[in-house]
Subunit: 306 residues, 2 copies
């Protein structure tokens, strides 16, 4: 299972009751944060979450509302005596931008590793997160910007009859179930496919902000259990503004959710001018019914289907 908390739902600038958009994800004791605008560390504290265990920080892009909280967050992690390395993932320029911001956070008790995204897509399995894939894909903003997808694989059911029929000793079952290949001293080899059924549906989470609608979003968000997507404007007449600033209206986001056939969409990254996102949700649901106008701190535990 994956714990998800949308720490903030604002765009552009933090407001007293709407902090900047940032996502906190926890799986297998590891934590990933996407974006850390000004006051993200306050949003974490409001939810009773610690910044110390954050292992990976991903950046969608380097506009201030997505990274301005980084120096303070790093210092707070340092003050909490984190010593394990921290991985940062982001578009080209990552190391330069982070080091420039670190003029006020030069000394930290942990190492920072950088993984710059240089292609239009990138995928990897983070350390200590077996079966978990973190992928980035390019979207369309006025500076290079990426969306992120997290996939947790689920293996097929363990077939006891098949294991018994193949004469596999019980002590190897656990390893095979975990996907390991077992090689005995006599040369016998047991592979997971001998005892596991077809891979079952896993968990998929997609996060997208600061972009116009793109095919890459539809393709990458395809069949997501949860699709967190920017909806900068609720007012239909702000489409012009959305196009100009390379953002989306609620309705554009809803059309993406529909095309990608996701289970549920959470809107976020509202313009400060949008006082009551809920006001426009009725019209949005006519396009994609399972839309939520998120508020700060919205949380969910994504589980494998029974």
């Amino acid at each position: 299972m994956i714990d998800v908390c949308l720490l903030g739902t604002g765009g552009m600038m933090p407001l007293p009751n709407r902090l900047l958009t940032s996502l906190y994800v926890r799986y297998n004791g590891k934590c990933i944060l996407i974006d850390s605008g000004e006051a993200t560390q306050i949003a974490l504290k409001k939810k009773g979450l610690s910044s110390k265990p954050i292992d990976i920080i991903c950046f969608t892009h380097y506009h201030a509302d997505h990274i301005s909280g980084l120096p303070g967050l790093l210092l707070t992690m340092g003050n909490a005596e984190r010593t394990e390395p921290l991985l940062m993932v982001g578009p080209k320029g990552l190391e330069r931008v982070v080091n420039s911001l670190r003029v006020i956070a030069p000394e930290l008790p942990f190492e920072i590793k950088f993984k710059e995204i240089t292609d239009s897509e990138m995928s990897f399995e983070p350390e200590g997160m077996p079966g978990f894939t973190l992928s980035a894909f390019k979207v369309n903003h006025n500076i290079p910007c990426y969306g992120y997808t997290m996939n947790l694989r689920r293996q097929g059911k363990f077939n006891v009859d098949a294991a018994m029929a193949a004469g596999i000793d019980r002590r190897y079952w656990n390893g095979l179930q975990k996907g390991e290949t077992i090689e005995l001293e006599d040369g016998t080899v047991y592979t997971p496919d001998m005892v596991l059924g077809e891979a079952r549906k896993g968990i998929k989470l997609t996060y997208v902000t600061d972009t116009r609608p793109t095919d890459s979003i539809v393709n990458n968000a395809k069949d997501s259990d949860l699709f967190i997507c920017e909806g900068m404007y609720g007012e239909p007449d702000k489409l012009v503004k959305a196009k100009e600033h390379k953002h989306m209206t609620f309705y554009e986001a809803a059309r993406l959710a529909k095309k990608a056939e996701v289970k549920e969409m959470w809107l976020t990254h509202y313009s400060p001018s949008l006082v009551n996102p809920q006001e426009f949700i009725g019209e949005t649901r006519k396009i994609f019914a399972n839309t939520v106008a998120s508020k700060d701190g919205r949380s969910l535990t994504l589980r494998f289907e029974e």
Copy 2:
């Protein structure tokens, strides 16, 4: 009169109910901000204050909790379409630190002017603030750090009898009252001292954070109407920690207030470990009675004495 708002009262890191220490001062339509840690722009909004009219930002020093909110603040001022230049004042390195942070706020619709403090003391009258002096003085932290004093002069009473006796036409009274020297075409010169009594007590405000007690604080805070001073620790046994990290306990701050014979002291810049500053205020008041354990947003209008 001078409007004062202590926007936040925290040190080290912003907490949901205690934002970082920052002071907002308004006089004659001009605004000065001292320090802008992460979320200072939220603190401004909480008080219904706009960041757009801020004309001067002073920095005590460049630890992150005093400047990390700057990029976001600058962008918000830019988004509010400020075009008037902004003056920044701070210790050596000001331009380098600010420009490094501006990696995420490179384009602004207003000019930034820098005034670096190179000596142990510096004073000037900001543009558009007649009679108002802004002074910086060095304190004792683990990196160069300055306290600030603001002084508003008050001229002597206008002496109508003296003006009449000197045969000064009424139309020149207003100028003389404002401190202007009047020169007539026939060579006659009227100076303010001809019609003004002795200068009266003005308004004095002193702001000090991140330091051990120093003589410079006592000298510069002398007779302040309001002395805003750090009190990192309330627990008496934290004196060792205060010395180690170059901060102060409530009691050290109170002794400074007493020596400087200020009217009133507001404590601020509490350690995140200090849950209830009020708990220690009784003991502190035994040293300096007029001590306040400030909370975020504490405001006061300082007026000339009647």
